[in-house]
Amino acid sequence: MNITEKILARGAGKSSVSPDDVVFANVDKVMIHDVSGPGVIKVFDKLKKQGISIDKLWDPTKVWVAEDHFVPSAEKVSAENIVKLSNFTKNYGIEKHFKYGMGQYGICHTISHEEAMVLPGEVYVGGDSHTNTTGALGAFACGLGHTDIAYVLLNGKIWFKVPETYYFKLNGKLPDHVMAKDLILKIIGEIGTDGGAYQTMQFGGSGVDEMSVESRLTLCNMTTEAGAKNGIVEPDQKVVDYLTQRGTTDMNLIKGDDDAEYAKVFEFESSEMEPTVAKPFSPENTTVVREAPSVELDKSYIGSCTGAKYEDLVAAASVLKGRKVKIRTEILPAAISIYQRAMENGLLKIFLDAGVTVGPPTCGACCGAHMGVLAKDEICISTTNRNFPGRMGHVESQTYLSSPLVAAASAITGKITDPRDL
């Protein structure tokens, strides 16, 4: 069995599973946020009316809650959703609620790794499509709709159809100025936005071995944009060190067997990658930066679970140091812990000196909710993960997806710029 099959077999209490088996698996962790949480509450209300007991969750210690999409609240409906979420966690005794304005909080997927909320070998589901991110820690991580999440909260388990696995063998260390984001955009450009539909996308090879845990998180985050059920990387010493630094030592490292089977194997020469962007209006619409259209940008946005981890901010700072931005540029660290490290290590000063506005952690303009959304005809280069029409604001705005290095280089020139050409 490969790693995904082994984790699902463990979760289902079976000695083995195969692709297309349907298994009833115990869930180890579940996450809700300020969009899926109110949806869950609605489902609970309905169940109560049907006479089903909703007095207790299966295990409140395995549930955690993030406030990310609509914080800080820009209007009263969002504010009321946060109140609802707070009442929910209080009523059910959920202690891990990362609240805006009270120390550590941030984008749910970032909290999942920054706070070691999810561990290798676990079955983790979240009420958000980018839950795939956390597979980089060696967990089975996937998103569900809020009705399914409500079921998991009450019952602690859920059905899964064991996916087939596409194995992406990445050969060689990424060159300087090229990040995991460039690589995954290239992959999505090759296989398409449904190229991984219903599949597991597993990454391995020397390219992944060389990569930091944060870079692997970027790869797994974007598997959602290829339609994958989950993204995953087998855990190694880097993952152990990463989680140990975050206070966790008790880990069950599950890896695939030597004779693990994969439905397909793709090979990419990661050592030969180039800075890449996805043009509007699809993550699969990719081109290398040096062949990107010469458009006048209005804005550079460095934020989101995909593109505002600490490593992403370090990359942006390496470009912005001693330079001034030519267009509106916002950097929103994805969690308070990252914000704090950026402050302690002088990154915030570099950003502010360059003329950048640094905002609070939030999904913000990535989902077009608030905090710097785009006007009609505005063009943005962004480290986020989606560029569908209207995703970041007006339906006639345009977003180019890129790495933090490309977004920072483009902020300096006002055009889509390869960081090697600065």
Partner: protein, 194 residues
């Protein structure tokens, strides 16, 4: 959930691939949590201009399709965000059947939780149905789509079919059988394939 038996209506052909849930329900409506009333937000940016006037060139605004309950569309329908609001909007607008060559995973699962029948058909058949002018009938019990000129059979998981036919809420349904499921899991040597 209302029991699903059969639906007869003309089809609305939405000839697009990779329709993502941001297009089905834009972000500004996500903070609303009611299950009813989302229909007015369906394909909001395609249906309305910035002054919220109807765009005449979008198919849903053609009065001919006003009472259509069957949407026939392209590959990978419902990709992107996991928002269940997308399914609520389609249902509230009046669509109870969606036919496409393929669906995004989370969207597909959300359909069954809310009483929409998603049907996966070969590309060629989907294109043919998109050309169909008259009413067609979708009969879930017999798994047949009847057009004026032919009958097309479709596949569906038997458990999901039962849920839709009986209008059973997925969660409530499973809870009724929790003891039996646990017993089965414990005793059975067969792989569980519900």
């Amino acid at each position: 959930m209302e029991p699903f038996k059969s639906v007869s209506s003309i089809v609305t052909p939405l000839d697009k691939v990779n329709v993502d849930t941001d297009q089905i329900v834009p972000k500004q409506f996500l903070k609303l949590v009611q299950k009813s009333g989302f229909g007015k937000f369906l394909f909001f940016n395609w249906r309305f201009d910035e002054n919220e006037n109807k765009k005449s060139d979008f198919i849903l605004n053609d009065p001919k399709y006003k009472n259509s309950q069957i949407l026939v569309t392209g590959d990978n329908f419902g990709c992107g965000s996991s928002r269940e609001h997308a399914v609520s909007a389609l249902l509230d607008y009046g669509f109870s059947v969606i036919i496409a060559p393929s669906f995004a995973d989370i969207f597909l699962s959300n359909c069954f939780k809310n009483g929409i029948l998603p049907i996966t058909l070969d590309q060629q058949l989907v294109e043919k149905l998109q050309q169909e002018n008259g009413a067609i009938n979708v009969d879930l019990e017999n798994q047949i789509i009847k057009t004026p000129s032919e009958e097309i059979s479709f596949g569906i998981d038997s458990y999901k079919k039962k849920i839709l036919l009986e209008g059973l809420d997925d969660i409530a349904q499973t809870f009724q059988y929790e003891d039996k499921i646990l017993e089965f899991e414990k005793e059975s040597k067969l792989p569980s394939v519900l």
